[in-house]
């Protein structure tokens, strides 16, 4: 019974649909000139990875039962912490300042998320309001600190990740040139984190317990699991991964902390919903949104895409998320106890 429902739902579930959309998109892209994909894909991947990390963070938090609307702020904190760290160490450490910056972003995000964890787990505060406070606090505090420590609201770094070909794999015709040439190492780190998270959440008893905390916390508690601890872990991971996402923005395509992540945190929440709270779903959704963003950004320069106004691509992720919410409103895949204090 259970088996058949999962099989059935693979075709009708949002996850399945997200996969179809992605596959369709890739096929569509293949139909276009090869040159065009070669131009868009590296950017699409670069935009996808920060979204993927942040949405994955949101997955940990929401699966453990805590709504996290503060992802935007947590990203910003990671963005800032890594910019500051790299700025202060790049003269002495050279290239190894970059991993150090990523680590700083991860730690800062995790630390900052504890504010949200404390408010929503121990104090049973309204999680939406707490998340909003996190966003506001992050955007004010990071610029405040940037001004006092670095002297201006913008923190520019000299270094950035050098794109490299993966030896061996990049020689594969077709796929090799698309995915394995000129890639950032952070992309591979992110994909490993994604795979490891899928394994942790779906293939271990720890993951089962964590997900159960988001569905029926009192049942988990009666089985002797520490629900508070699990939820702290979930929120902490969301901070760490959102911080990682923010840091990746810095060291790949931005190169400068400028006080905002321009709604990417909220876009990640949209991806989390559109991906129906599943790792594969959010991979598809973030890639989809990343591609849409890229197309919007480059459509001015590429005549083949110039016919469609860029606003369509920019508004697209939010509209499809709303539509997904409407379509799947009958049986939402959201964790049942998400947002409820235990």
């Amino acid at each position: 019974m259970n088996n058949t429902t999962t099989k059935k739902s693979l075709f009708t579930s949002p996850l399945g649909i997200a996969i179809y959309i992605v596959v369709g998109l890739v096929l569509l892209a293949l139909l276009a000139t090869n040159h065009l994909i070669g131009m868009i894909l590296p950017y699409a991947i670069a935009y996808t990875i920060p979204l993927l990390m942040t949405a994955l963070g949101g997955l940990y938090s929401e699966r453990s039962g805590v709504t996290n609307l503060g992802l935007e702020g947590l990203m910003l904190v990671g963005y800032f912490a890594s910019a500051l760290t790299i700025r202060l160490t790049e003269q002495t450490l050279q290239a190894s300042a970059l991993p150090l910056g990523l680590l700083a972003g991860v730690l800062a995000g995790a630390l900052f998320s504890m504010l949200h964890a404390f408010a929503s787990i121990n104090l049973k505060a309204d999680q939406v309001i707490s998340g909003t406070a996190i966003n506001m606090l992050a955007s004010a505090l990071t610029v405040y600190l940037a001004r006092t420590i670095a002297g201006s609201g913008n923190v520019r770094i000299m270094l950035g990740i050098v794109r490299k070909d993966i030896p061996g794999l990049s020689k594969i015709p077709g796929i090799g040139t698309l995915f394995f040439t000129q890639s950032y190492w952070s992309t591979w780190v992110a994909l490993i984190v994604w795979g490891a998270s899928w394994f942790l959440l779906y293939k271990t008893s720890f993951g089962l317990r964590l997900r159960a905390c988001g569905e029926h916390p009192s049942a988990v508690a009666s089985a002797g699991v520490n629900v508070y601890g699990m939820r702290y872990f979930g929120v902490g991971m969301s901070g760490a991964l959102a911080g990682l996402g923010g840091s990746i923005i810095l060291i790949t395509y931005s190169g400068e902390f400028n006080g905002t992540v321009a709604g990417l945190g909220f876009l990640s929440i949209a991806a989390l919903i559109f991906g129906q709270w599943k790792p594969l779903g959010i991979l598809g959704a973030t890639f989809f949104f990343g591609t849409a963003t890229t197309i919007a950004n480059v459509s001015q320069v590429i005549p083949q895409l110039g016919v469609i106004p860029p606003v369509i691509f920019k508004v697209f992720p939010y509209v499809v998320t709303l539509l997904a919410l409407i379509v799947f409103s009958k049986r939402s895949a959201a964790p049942k106890a998400v947002g409820e204090a235990f």
Partner: protein, 369 residues
């Protein structure tokens, strides 16, 4: 009982403000500035002369309307986090009116208010319908609507309202088409003061009247306190959810009007108006009460308009004001801490009083014997 809850809300608000200011003071100290000096200039910057007071009020006007929007939705149990987007759309409608409608002033004001309200209401009613019809959570829906508004305006303004010099803002509207008014400007000696003040204060009292004295207000509050109970009593829950979001959106649209055609005279693209989120703080601090919103908006308005002066006079960056506001929201969200604290204080007092009564009684008993 009612009095007790009210005083509790007041105590919580005051505690949150004090802790927020305290956190701000700590931050100033952490960068080696004198917090007393910092706060002195912060408050002075908001209040030192008529023009500054006018600026404080005109910042507060926008915050008041956004705060009222969020508070109104709260009353129906809805969280309107989409005030920023509703402000953008309402502001855009008002800007279009200011550019293209030329009729006598009184009619003009009616038209611009109507259009701004309508624009915001449209942006608010969509999440309302989604909530009522499909049970889509209004928080997520309003966030999506925010970014739809943000990107639509990002491309609409350069295409149809392009400014002469800058790509990033719309062309300025004529001063006589704005909400600025010569006699108000004269009273306050310049600054950003505008007719929005009457819109905001009027809205406060209208909303207070609607909530306290009308059937609609009663129904909205009933849905907010327990929607199942309200449904059982025959109140049309879905209809009220839609109406609530529509009015909340309209109020935020008016806020956009006061900001984009009163405080400033153009729309900047690529900027999500931060008042849309500060308004949440206003509503929370004001305990979702229209009069509470009035005062908390004035307080935040003072912080926002004094920060520039403080930054000029001291080393403290202006973001301190936003940090204080964010801290206040955080502490209001965690208000259970304070209510526990004040409850325990209250209980101790009551216990003491009770003890005293008991003692007196036992004494009396003793004396009787």
């Amino acid at each position: 009982m009612k009095v007790k809850i009210k005083s509790n809300a007041f105590l919580i608000a005051v505690s949150a403000v004090i802790l927020g200011l305290f956190a701000g003071g700590l931050l100033m100290m952490s960068i080696g500035s004198n917090p007393f000096e910092g706060f002195y200039y912060l408050f002075r910057g908001g209040l030192m002369n008529m023009e500054r007071i006018g600026n404080t009020i005109s910042t507060a006007i926008t915050l008041m309307l956004v705060g009222l929007s969020v508070a109104f939705a709260f009353k129906t149990g809805l969280f309107n986090i989409g005030a920023a987007g509703q402000m953008l759309v309402g502001g855009l409608c008002a800007t279009l009116v200011a550019h293209y409608v030329f009729i006598p002033r009184p009619f003009y004001l009616v038209v611009i208010i109507f259009c701004a309200f309508l624009g915001g209401a449209l942006w608010g009613v969509i999440p309302g319908i989604l909530k009522a019809k499909f049970n889509v959570h209004e928080v997520v829906a309003t966030i999506m609507m925010n970014w739809i508004a943000y990107w639509s305006i990002y491309y609409f303004v350069p295409a149809y309202l392009k400014g002469p010099s800058l790509e990033t803002e719309s062309k300025s509207i004529a001063i006589e088409q704005s909400l600025r008014s010569p006699w108000l400007t004269e009273i306050f000696g310049g600054g950003y003061i505008n007719l929005g003040i009457f819109v905001a204060v009027g809205a406060i009292f209208v909303i207070k009247y609607v909530l306290d004295k009308t059937t609609l207000g009663f129904e909205l509050k009933a849905v907010g306190s327990n929607r199942f109970c309200a449904e059982y009593a025959g109140i049309k829950v879905n209809r009220n959810v839609v109406i609530s979001m529509m009015i909340a959106g309209g109020l935020a649209g008016l806020a956009g009007m006061t900001y984009y055609t009163g405080y400033s005279r153009n729309i900047q693209i690529g900027v999500m108006p931060s008042m849309g989120f500060d308004g949440i703080a206003v509503a929370l601090l004001g305990a979702s009460n229209p009069i509470g919103v009035l005062f908390s908006a004035l307080f935040f308005g003072m912080l926002q308009s004094g920060k520039g002066f403080m930054n000029a006079m001291t080393e403290v960056p202006p973001e301190i004001a936003d940090t204080i506001i964010a801290t206040i929201i955080y502490f209001t969200a965690t208000s259970v801490l304070f209510s526990r604290f004040w409850d325990s204080v209250g209980r101790k007092k009551r216990d003491k009083a009770q003890q005293k009564i008991d003692q007196d009684e036992s004494k009396e008993e003793v004396s009787h014997e």
